[in-house]
């Protein structure tokens, strides 16, 4: 083994306290990045996942004119011929006033968003039906599913209650219909229909006087990485229509933009944490240099050049960086594994969407390794500045 590396290793390993301290500094720096990533990127991905699963699919088709007048049956069939597509379903949205009556007396009146779904297609393209924790989905045309928050705001609506819904149709006329509550929807994290009500799409079309029209087509893919391909196929297939096709990243951009910049800031804080661990390495290595002053003097006196001394202490930085990066990455992966396997969530909120971002994992490990080397530069430089005679006087 190269003598400088051997010396660097021995000097470091014979000072176990310093070695452990320096390695811990690197480890903690990496762990902070991993924990940040698991929590905040996991939360972001969970929101994207839920928006995709409940609302927008992997590709969302809308129309510049607000409503799609092409047959939803035709569009869904077109999509389902593409191998990447698992299912597609039409949706229609509006807002409504709700009169909730109990035992014949008006109990509560409120205005809420309303979503019309094709229940049989919807359960294939979306998992929002799984959020109906009490009762069942809107399989009957006079049934309604209330979001848990709406049910609470209405004074504690329960399955089996009835309520009256008023919608203004396309001609400005009030359309009123009575529904029976068949289910209450509640999603962890509230990305489902917790603040809306859901009815059968045909019923909503009737109420809105928009027969055969849809607000959007939600497309679920079996391979989400093909979203852009599917989007482009679709736009190429319908060049003369005014369709808008968006991937989940595009359709949810407005909701996610703020969160994205929040993550960037958290990451930046993490990297600052990593930099502070570099300062810890500088301090520990300065102690190592001070502790080896006499040895440095001896080495210089028997012919070691300043460069040799520099290289020995940079090797120490590399050893600290390599061990720290290894231990830190292992600890980070352990935490990620734990978070993924336990479907980690906070206060029963939405479970984090934990993923192994190997590019980021490697980048963090390499960055911390490089930082450890950079941190060792100053102590190494100081070591080279020691004069042999003075250094050897040190006891």
């Amino acid at each position: 083994m190269e003598y400088r590396l051997r010396l660097a290793k021995r000097m470091l390993f014979n000072k176990k306290g310093s070695l452990i301290g320096a390695v811990l500094a690197v480890t903690i720096g990496i762990l902070v990045i991993h924990v940040n990533f698991v929590i905040f990127q996991g939360l972001f991905d969970a929101i994207v996942r839920d928006i995709s699963n409940y609302r927008n699919g992997n590709v969302l088709i809308t129309d510049e004119e607000d409503y799609i007048d092409k047959s939803d049956q035709a569009l869904v069939s077109w999509f389902e011929r593409i191998p990447y597509v698992e299912a597609a379903t039409p949706r229609l949205s509006s807002s409504a006033s709700i009169n909730m009556t109990k035992f014949g007396t008006l109990h509560e009146k409120t205005r809420i968003p309303i979503v019309g779904v094709d229940p049989f297609r919807d359960i294939q393209a979306s998992t929002v039906h799984e959020t109906v924790t009490d009762g069942q989905y809107v399989f009957a045309k006079n049934s309604i599913v209330l979001g848990s928050n709406v049910a609470r705001d209405l004074g504690g609506v329960e399955v089996g209650d009835s309520l009256k819904l008023k919608i203004v149709d396309r001609y400005g006329q009030d359309q009123i219909r009575r529904f029976v509550v068949t289910g209450i929807a509640q999603s962890p994290g509230g990305q489902g229909f917790d603040y809306s009500v859901v009815v059968h799409i045909d019923t909503l079309r009737d109420l809105m006087n928009r027969k055969g029209e849809s607000g959007s087509i939600m497309v679920k893919l079996n391979d989400p990485t093909k979203a852009n391909d599917v989007k482009n196929f679709f736009l190429a297939a319908f060049p003369n229509d005014d369709f808008i096709a968006e991937t989940i990243e595009e359709s949810a951009e407005e909701q996610l933009a703020g969160f994205r910049s929040g993550i960037a800031m958290i990451n930046m804080i993490g990297y600052f944490g990593m930099m502070s661990s570099a300062f810890a390495i500088v301090t520990i290595q300065m102690m190592l240099v001070n502790g080896k002053t006499r040895e440095i003097g001896v080495m210089r006196s028997i012919g070691a050049t300043r460069k040799d001394i520099l290289v020995i202490f940079i090797f120490q930085g590399m050893i600290i960086g390599a061990i720290g990066a290894g231990v830190g990455t292992a600890a980070g992966l352990g935490y990620t594994f734990y978070a993924k396997e336990t479907k980690m969530s906070f206060n029963n909120s939405l479970p984090l969407e934990v993923s192994y971002n190997w590019e980021k994992i490697i980048q963090t490990a390499v960055l911390s390794f490089m930082l450890a080397i950079i941190a060792s530069l100053y102590p190494s430089y100081r070591a080279t500045k020691l004069l042999p005679v003075e250094a050897m006087r040190t006891v």
Binding site: L7, R10, M11, M299, S301, I302, G303, A304, R306, D308
Partner: protein, 215 residues
């Protein structure tokens, strides 16, 4: 400004066993450090093997120290992180001439009576053994000059005699120049030359009696 050495001028021939003596603080270690290129004179020059060392760069000085000079210090100054053998090998590894280095190191360690201690950590051997290892380290690169600064200063009288005898026999056997700084000339007995330093000035005599007069 205090002058550690003033108007010191002498030359030493190859193979000479030279003692530099003087009381504590007289400047003898400073003189040795200048000969060993560990310190630079503010005025004057040190020539070694015909080379004016005052013109050498820091890297050249390091190479010069490594190849031409061998050092033996008062406190052996072995690196405690290395074994005895690794300590002896170190100057060769610094020089990058590792071919047959281990064989040479083992021979030297055998010559100084440490063949059974070679794999021990340097801090696990006695002071006398460490000093013998330091002598082996000082000789591994076959230097032109071996410089020893109070090599027996930290040893008991029995061990000191062993070390002195060893240095003398090595000097004779290898025909190497030894320059030894000591405050106790009696330990070393006869030397080819004795240079006395007093108040930074050097004077020279061949016999201890003359030195005594000078001092």
């Amino acid at each position: 400004m205090v002058k550690a050495l003033d108007d010191v001028s002498f030359s030493i021939e190859k193979g000479e066993f030279v003692l530099i003596v003087g009381s504590s603080g007289s400047g003898k270690s400073t003189l040795l450090n200048m000969i060993g290129l560990l310190d630079r004179p503010t005025n004057g020059k040190v020539f070694i093997d015909g080379t004016d060392t005052s013109n050498l760069s820091d890297n050249q000085i390091s190479t010069f120290r490594n190849k031409k000079l061998g050092f033996i210090f008062q406190f052996s100054n072995l690196l405690t992180d290395l074994t005895v053998l690794e300590n002896v090998l170190l100057p060769r590894e610094i020089a990058g001439t590792t071919e047959s280095a281990e064989k040479n190191a083992r021979e030297l360690l055998k010559a100084v009576g440490l063949e059974n201690q070679i794999n021990k950590r340097a801090n696990k051997i006695s002071g006398g053994q460490a000093q013998r290892a330091a002598i082996a380290r000082g000789l591994i690169n076959n230097p032109s000059i071996v410089l020893a600064d109070e090599p027996t200063g930290n040893l008991d009288s029995v061990t000191s005699k062993i070390i002195v005898d060893l240095m003398k026999s090595m000097a004779k056997e290898l025909n190497q120049t030894f320059i030894i700084v000591t405050h106790d000339q009696q330990h070393f007995g006869e030397a080819d030359r004795v240079i006395t330093i007093k108040d930074g000035k050097a004077s020279e005599g061949n016999q201890p009696s003359e030195l005594e007069v000078l001092v």
